[in-house]
């Protein structure tokens, strides 16, 4: 499963498929840095923090979000001229809820232990603001093609942050990555102790804060006026 995600991650960075114009590429690459859903748009934070204790559930959640966002954006974009704006929120929620139900049942069937670990957070993809936010901001006003790219890009931008946070938390918190122990037993014998703080929720927030710090010191135009 992990290899799939890494392949998807690299795909947008390899440029020059004639299929994508420069504008299309921007839709995918922008959310990775300049317009990252988590660190810049402040969308989808709840689940990003709660499931990042270990890398594996984080990867599964990323795939779920990717699936829901791409199909949700495509559906809403196709329906955009049919739905009156007064009821659009409910329509969006129902479309997303149906997709999330598919993800939930698929997880229960294929990876039951992960589904137990994610518990309510699969259901919470429905109200993951990143899904609704992109539907409102982009899919409602654009054709299906660009909407799918935008959804894909934003899901990747979301996944990147999730994966970084999860790697740090799992490595320092449990000394492993993807469940494989990376810190040799010798270290533990010498008195090394896993940092329990990384497993606790507050550390996820502080890590995201540090990621924002690093990103903004590289990318000065994102700095907020006080």
């Amino acid at each position: 499963m992990s290899t799939e995600t890494t392949v998807q991650e690299k795909a947008p960075k390899a440029p020059a498929k004639p299929l994508f114009t420069a504008k299309d590429r921007k839709l995918i690459t922008d959310p990775l840095d300049d317009d990252n859903p988590i660190t810049v748009q402040v969308l989808g934070i709840c689940s990003a923090l709660a499931v990042t204790v270990q890398l594996k559930p984080a990867l599964f959640l990323c795939m779920g979000v990717l699936f829901v966002m791409v199909f949700g954006s495509a559906t809403i974009s196709l329906l955009r001229n049919l739905v009156p704006s007064r009821v659009r929120i409910i329509v969006q929620l129902v479309v997303v809820a149906a997709l999330v139900t598919v993800v939930d049942l698929a997880l229960k069937a294929l990876a039951y232990d992960v589904s137990k670990e994610l518990s309510v957070f699969v259901g919470l993809i429905i109200t993951n603001c990143i899904v609704m936010g992109r539907l409102e901001a982009f899919a409602l006003a654009n054709k299906p093609g660009p909407s799918i790219l935008d959804a894909f890009g934003n899901a990747l931008g979301y996944s990147v942050i999730l994966i970084i946070v999860a790697i740090f938390r799992e490595f320092f918190g449990s000394g492993s990555i993807m469940g494989f122990n990376l810190i040799p037993q010798g270290f533990y014998d010498m008195g090394y102790v896993n940092n329990g703080l990384f497993i606790l929720p507050p550390m996820a927030l502080i890590l995201v804060g540090i990621i924002i710090w690093v990103q903004r010191s590289r990318n000065k135009k994102l700095i907020e006026a006080n």
Partner: protein, 204 residues
């Protein structure tokens, strides 16, 4: 006594923000001023207090395996729990809409105070999270579910008002550029979360 326990537990020990990160998006986006934070917090308490009991009834008389037995013995075998996401979110979206209209009619001043926050609440994760935790924890009766909903709302309210107050003060501090604003809000929330961890040892 059980009710008081659930109330205190859902405010401090299982705080929606600090223990589960639910409703983070609006928590970070709307916490720049104390006034707006109070408005949104009240709206969340209100909506959680209404939707959790409604979803509790749905869960127990419609969705749970065997919940349909009140319609007759032959319906007892039906399990509709795969519909729960759609039902919960539809109830929440509809309730928010109704609450919005009712508040507009009966209390225009409250309506103008809550303003745009009411519709936003439909997609606040803490509302759906409340419903899903209620489903997972299997509360014994509707009073417990209601108290849990209200307590979670109050916990969220306390969290957002506290961070709004800190952010109002911190505007006068000299923070390094890149971490100003959002970055600092994350780090402060983390520190507040560590403070709230001290409640987690309490057995109720």
């Amino acid at each position: 006594m059980e009710l008081v326990n659930i109330f205190v537990k859902s405010i401090f020990v299982d705080n929606m923000i600090f223990a589960y990160f639910l409703g983070m998006c609006s928590y970070l986006a709307v916490s720049k001023k104390v006034n707006t934070a109070v408005g949104l917090g009240l709206a969340v308490v209100f909506v959680l207090g209404i939707t959790v009991p409604i979803n509790y009834l749905l869960e127990n008389y419609l969705l749970k395996p065997g919940a349909l037995s009140w319609m007759g013995a032959e319906m007892a075998g039906i399990d509709l729990s795969f519909l729960s996401f759609i039902m919960f979110i539809a109830v929440i979206a509809a309730t928010v809409q109704i609450v919005e209209m009712a508040v507009e009619k009966f209390s225009p001043s409250l309506y103008s105070a809550l303003g745009i926050f009411l519709p936003l609440i439909a997609v606040n994760c803490s509302i759906l999270g409340g419903a899903l935790f209620m489903q997972e924890r299997d509360y014994a009766n509707i009073a417990q579910a209601t108290v849990f909903g209200l307590g979670s709302g109050v916990g969220w309210f306390i969290a957002i008002v506290a961070i709004a107050a800190i952010r109002e003060k911190i505007r006068y501090s000299n923070i390094p550029g890149p971490v100003r604003g959002l970055g600092m809000a994350f780090i402060i929330t983390g520190l507040m979360g560590i403070a709230f961890l001290s409640f987690s040892g309490i057995k109720l």
